[in-house]
Structure formats: C-alpha cells, structure tokens
Symmetry: C2
Subunit: 208 residues, 2 copies
C-alpha cells in the first residue's frame, strides 16, 4: 500500500522504515533538507498526503492541525488517517503540559477538522522503538486503538499485527473520544521514562 | 498506629478495613448516618484528623480541599497525609472530566493548602479492591508514589508493603508534581475499565 508519513522526527522516520520493511511504499519528506521553510514543508506534506492511500500523522502535536490543513480536505477524504501525535506543550520547559483540556483530544480536533478522514488514534502511548518492535522482552504489553470507523480500526489493527503486535495485545478503547485517555496518559509516561531511564518500556494491563 | 481515614465511600471503607486487618487503629465516620449535614461532617472529619497520627484522604476530589480545610492546619502539621483522591468532575456526565489542568494536580493543591503536612500521593490509579489485595493474579503490576518528603514516602512504602505490595512493584515517580501524571491517567483507567469490564485490573510497567 502507498502510505504517506507526515513528520520526519524520530517517530516518522522509525515508522517509515518499518512500513518499508513490511512491504509498503512510503512517501516521506524532510523539513530540514529539501524544504527549509515551514510553509513550503507543509505544502509538500499536503502533496504527500495526496498520493498516500493511508496517511500517518507523526508530526509534533503543535504542528499537527496546521500540517493537515495544508494537505487540503480532498487529499484526506475517505482515507485512514492514523494519528500517533501527542498534544505536548514544551513552551514552559520540562515536563511539558498538554495543550488540550480533559474535554477534548488532539485526535478529536483532527477528526473535527477533517470529517471525511477516518481518524484512528494509536501508538501514541509509547516510544518509537517500541511501536515497531513490540517484542520488548518477556511478557505482554498493550497498544490502544481509538476511532469512530470500525473498518478503519480493523485496517489499523492489521497494520499493527504486521509490526509484530499480537492481536490480543491490541486493545480497542472506543470511539475517537477515547483518545483523550490515551493522550492524557503522556504525563505519566514521561514520569515513568524518568523512572525506567530508557524509552524501551510500555504498560501492560494485568487482569484479576 | 492511629490512622484517620477521611471519606466513607468504597475507597475509605476498603482502606479502613484493611488498616484494621493489618493492626492499625482507625478512626472513620459516616456522613450519612451520624452527620446528615455536610458542614457537621466536615467538622467531624477535622476532629478525626486531629487524633490520627497519619491521615488518609479518601474523599471525592471535589470535596477534598473543603474537608481538609475543615480539619484546621494544626491537625495536619507534621503528619503524613496520604492522598488517594482523584480530581474527577462528573457534572457533565460520564466519562468525567478532570477538574485540574495539566499544570497542576489535586495533590499539589492539597500540599499548597497545607504546607506543614507531608503529602504523599498513592493508590489513586486503581480500584479499591486492588489497593488492598494486590495479588491480582499472575504477574506483577505497579503502584506509584509521589511526594516531596522522603521519610514520608518511606512510611507510605512500608504501609503499601503491609498491604501485600512487593517492594519492587512500588514505583516512586518523583516529587509531588509527579502526581499530575498519576491523576491524568484516570481518563485512560476509565476507558480500560470499560474494556476489561470489572475493576480488578491494573497496569504493569514492562521494560525492554
């Protein structure tokens, strides 16, 4: 499948490499190399979204809505739009705040801005290495999926399985509003990162 | 030890019973039975805080600051104040919002309102049955501790161990500001509750 990856940070590059490794055709760009100006980059991101059959938003949370709006509504209509971004605000230092309140989520804002896209939130609750190499070590751990469109969620589950995620470790949280939970987990993730001391960790749901 | 438990909901009653079972002397009250009026109940909570050597805040998040202020500053000074509450706002239905932003936490507000208390946030990330019976089933899972005062955190770790928590499953997140992470996890907990279908679950940190 042709997949457009928006965002060229560590998350975008890691996902792009994995997608190629599992057989997809990936379009990516580099903000710094070819397009030093943000506006040109956003426009180029829009061109990339246009050619993708599926689009992955791996931009930083603060840039997400701007970049997606540059892609134009027609370029996202009907497509699965996987949102892995987080609404982190580093403007006041570390740890970052969330730029959203508990009454919304970035994923919902993306869905509202692009009602014809089929937005699915996933993978935002872990570091890039874990996203694409879920065989962390002994024991299971979980990835979450939120979205309004069941066929879109099923496509995303299949993609996650192709990354190595066991089907039973992929948990559907609910419609796109459930992305609030996944995004608001980030402040805890950041503290756990401090405790663990490396990004290779994740949470597992243990049931009694 | 004499421990005052503020809050007579399921969390307060469950913790009170466990504390008695492991050998402590517990003072609790009942808002509905003896003190039908909220003001009388808050004043009585203050009296209870006065006789406790340690105080546990298990009130609902919306009542926490009011109840603690009724206890009077002298009744909390120097004491370990374990805060298990969550800043959930159910006024607009389910799922609840958080009444705090990502720049603060209820635990920090409690510490700021009672600077001479030694506030430790813990146990707020799970249901009451799991708090006191951590032997959920196979595998480890975690409880978090946040607070500014190391001897107070050590007292809380000991109390958690007396509940059955293995020392290695008790994770210190950092100072009291790290309670933001623990509190902002609640929206995800609520979604996971919907997925799991029962309150007997918790998260485990899996390290690569």
């Amino acid at each position: 499948m042709k997949i457009a990856v928006l965002g060229t940070g560590i998350v975008g590059r890691t996902l792009g490499s994995k997608l190629i490794a599992v057989g997809h055709s990936v379009t990516m760009g580099s903000r710094n190399a070819a397009h030093p100006e943000a506006n040109a980059w956003a426009a180029e991101a829009g061109e990339r979204a246009a050619v993708g059959e599926m689009v992955i938003n791996a931009t930083s949370g603060g840039a997400t809505l701007e970049v997606l709006s540059a892609s134009g509504p027609g370029n996202l209509a009907g497509k699965v739009l996987i949102d892995v971004s987080n609404p982190l605000d580093f403007s006041r230092g570390f740890p970052p705040s969330l730029s959203t309140s508990s009454d919304t989520s970035l994923a919902e804002q993306v869905q509202a801005a692009h009602p014809e896209a089929r937005v699915v939130k996933t993978l935002n609750t872990m570091s890039a290495p874990v996203m694409v190499e879920p065989g962390l070590g002994p024991g299971h751990h979980n990835v979450f999926v939120s979205g309004n469109d069941e066929p879109a969620r099923a496509e995303v589950r299949s993609l996650l399985e192709s990354f190595g995620w066991p089907a039973e470790d992929i948990l559907e949280l609910g419609d796109i509003t459930s992305a609030r939970g996944a995004e608001m987990y980030l402040p805890l993730w950041l503290r756990l990162f401090g405790v663990v001391g490396k990004p290779q960790f994740n949470i597992s749901i243990v049931r009694g």
